[in-house]
């Protein structure tokens, strides 16, 4: 059966919902999500969303833009970054007007706090001189993403958005550079449905589940990027995957940077504040890639602490903040430490280790969220992407904390606006009744396959090996080893079978399809990492430890091939006002 909507939005996290709210009432719009909207991963974001509101101290959008460019290790496209940082202030005020509950300062304005990499010049008249941390992150205790998602969901209810919850999108219909719709199945009964649309927006989130230790939800399997890649469209800068320095040891559950923003300190086994050696001016508030490397270096050099299971960690000390600050500003994350590690953060330091956190790369778009057809900048008609699954390249090689939630609302809205404009003249493209055949076959095959591979073993091997060989530090030898492993896993995947043969709420079926998406994302990430022979931001090659602006000031575009390595092409970085400089903090 074919359902027809002017717009179909895939994903009901911050980006998808912000876009949905923007679609004018006269157009029909459906939002499809594999989980109930308020269960989307945006809800787990803790620390904040940034904008240079100047509510606590003087600040400017230009400061924010400079930090974002520098944080991106100069790979971010500066036109996109300017768009985001200029629009940030309006976007946050708008969230407040929509009803988002924020923590407030003593004037009753939105409160702001420190966050890694957010700085301003110490002397206003010397904009490129010494920089000091600035309070730029707007927050709601440590539940910023939770209340943001809820506010956007509730505004969608107010706007009577049509939801298809617990529908799983399996196919993207693009032909000759024109998007026609998507195919999905209802998880409750496995019924397949074609969604014909003039415009489709992907807002499907990240793919942290490629790694063993991750802060990402189980649903973070990169479905959107995988579908785009399978459709012959490129993925951009997939080698840049952010490891957040402070995941709870063994579990990867995030302890927000807000903990360090409020004054938390990292310590090694000797009780030394080791960040003083790596980033003397901002110390514990250095950007994430640097802190994660510092932690791994401490551990490798024997200054980590060996845990009961033989893995190592370092400590995040909050004890000096006092119970009052901890309870008021960091209640949720300190609760996680208590529940999951049995540690009392008011009196004991928290064992932490870097955790796979955020995909800087993804589906390439321009600043109107139109998906790019190629590295030349041509666009796919009717296809849009926003949020973590997209790469408009505001984060470049390393995202600054609090810039993702901002990205969601700025580009979610821009995507919605661009679609509204497009719909004024757009028409439906013909769609075949058989467009769902591929999905039907996929489901039938998985339900009847008698293969001898289980999804769980392939997934575990993928996650363990990616963590080992494509994690915080990378090298040619490790990446080569991982490529062999990945090709083996892809082969074995062809032979998987599932035990659950039922068509009712078959989560084993869903997981099997998600695994294929993980393999696709891993492929683009891994080959991208192998290909890029330099170190920049989150991509750190031990055999090429320096940033190489001569050869690598460019984005990678990976195109899937029938087998083996993707073809990689390049697109130059957009530079407007900030020339690359050495990145020191």
């Amino acid at each position: 059966m074919i359902k027809t909507y002017d717009v179909v939005i895939v994903g009901a996290g911050g980006a998808g919902l912000r876009a949905a709210v923007e679609i004018p009432k006269e157009y029909s719009c459906a939002v499809i999500s594999k989980v109930y909207p308020p269960r989307s991963h945006t809800g787990t974001a803790q620390g904040g969303v940034c904008a240079a509101l100047s509510n606590m101290e003087e600040d400017s959008w230009e400061n924010h833009a400079f930090d974002t460019v520098k944080g991106s290790d100069y790979l971010g496209d500066q036109d996109s970054i300017e768009v985001m940082c200029r629009d940030a202030i309006r976007a946050i005020i708008e969230l407040e007007h929509m009803g988002m509950p924020f923590s407030r300062n003593d004037k009753g304005l939105i409160a702001q706090r420190f966050f890694g990499g957010h700085t301003k010049p110490e002397d206003k008249n010397d904009p490129y001189g010494k920089r000091v941390p600035v309070k730029r992150s707007c927050y709601s205790a440590d539940r910023t993403g939770h209340v943001m998602l809820q506010t956007l969901f509730e505004n969608s209810i107010k706007n009577q958005v049509t939801f298809y919850s617990e529908y799983f999108v399996t196919d993207l219909l693009v032909e000759n550079g024109v998007c026609k719709g998507v195919v999905a199945f209802d998880i409750a009964n496995s019924e397949v449905q074609i969604f014909q649309a003039k415009a489709v927006l992907f807002a499907t989130g990240g793919y942290g589940r490629v790694f063993r230790i991750t802060s990402n939800a189980h649903a973070g399997t990169g479905d959107g990027s995988s579908l785009v890649y399978n459709a012959g469209l490129p993925l951009e800068d997939m080698e840049f995957f952010q490891f957040h320095p402070t995941g709870l040891w063994k579990l990867g559950i995030l302890v927000s940077e807000a903990a360090r923003g409020e004054g938390g300190i990292l310590k090694n086994k000797d009780g030394e504040r080791f960040m003083a050696r790596y980033a003397p001016s901002v110390m514990d508030l250095a950007p994430r890639d640097m802190v994660s490397r510092a932690i791994i270096t401490e551990i490798r050099e024997g200054r980590g602490i060996r845990g009961s299971d033989g893995t190592d960690y370092v400590l995040l000390d909050l004890t000096h903040l006092g119970k009052e600050v901890i309870d008021e500003k960091l209640p949720e994350i300190t609760g996680f430490a208590r529940t999951y590690l049995g540690v009392e953060p008011t009196t004991e330091p928290i064992p932490i280790q870097p955790t796979a956190h955020y995909a800087m790369g993804g589906i390439p778009t321009n600043t109107d969220c139109e998906v790019l057809l190629n590295e030349k900048g041509d666009t796919v008609k009717g296809l849009y992407a926003a949020g973590e699954c997209a790469c408009v390249s505001v984060h470049g090689a390393n995202r600054l904390g609090t810039n993702s939630l901002l990205d969601l609302v700025v580009f979610g809205r821009r995507g919605g606006k661009a679609i509204a404009e497009f719909l004024k003249t757009a028409a439906f493209s013909d769609i075949s009744e058989k467009a769902d055949e591929k999905t039907r076959e996929l489901i039938d095959r998985l339900l009847t396959s008698a293969g001898n591979e289980r999804a769980v073993s392939i997934r575990t091997e993928l996650q363990n090996n990616m963590m080992e060989d494509c994690g915080v530090f990378r090298s040619e030898a490790g990446l080569k080893k991982m490529i062999v492993k990945l090709e083996e896993l892809k082969e074995r995947y062809k032979n998987i079978s599932i035990q659950d043969k039922s068509r009712v709420f078959n989560t084993e079926l869903v997981e099997a399809i998600e695994l294929n998406n993980l393999l696709n994302n891993a492929e683009a990430t891994l080959y991208g990492a192998y290909n890029r022979t330099e170190s920049r931001g989150a991509h750190s090659r031990e055999d090429y430890p320096k940033r190489d602006d001569q050869d690598w000031m460019k984005h990678s575009f990976a195109f899937k091939k029938d087998s083996g390595a993707p073809e990689i092409k390049y697109k130059p970085v957009v530079i407007t006002r900030y020339q690359p400089m050495e990145r020191k903090y």
Partner: protein, 236 residues
Amino acid sequence: MDIQLKILRFNPEKDKQPYFQDFNVKNVSDDWRLLDVLHEIKGNYDGTLTFRRSCAHGICGSDGMKVNGKNKLACALLLKDINTKKTIVIEPLPALPIIKDLVVDMSSFFMKYEVIKPYLITNTPPPPNHERIQSNEDAEKLFESAKCILCACCTTSCPSTWTNENYIGPAAMLRAYRYINDTRDEGGDERLDILDTPDGIWRCHTIFNCIEACPKEINITWHISQLKKKLSSREM
């Protein structure tokens, strides 16, 4: 260590009635989440076992279920906090139709939440270029209720829900509180009218099951009592 579980199973394609299945799961450790045990079963014992989950750390609200008679989030419950010497009994959340195994149909739960108009209602336009002013004290009054993750543990543990499926339930009332007490909102009366109906707030007999069930430790009945006070003073 090894543990025993009894899990309520139901697949409408083949079962007339839900039934309990026993599992003996080997080599678990007491720092595991109950959710880890369910994954272990699904991965290595029985791939057909069906449950919802996503975040795995108590924030998305997906995996509410009944564990040894009490509603819990499987991802926020560690084995060391359960008596693992005895068989652990797992059932789906009560009072909602079972779709399959531990997955229940949440649509009525979400409908009740939508009924109370869970969004800011305003007549006064906000200031054009900056945020509305709200004191931190006033903002923090909303935080506890805004913490709710819509897991339905409370509403499905409530005896009033068991006897009247139309009862609006604690989660929706908590959400009503969140908006009624927001200094920026002007829709309080509309919502109080909705609560002041036969299936509304007066069906709450302060039995406290909901508080005990809430994984976010929200003092739900306190919030409900504030709403009752508001309603009573309105009627006077």
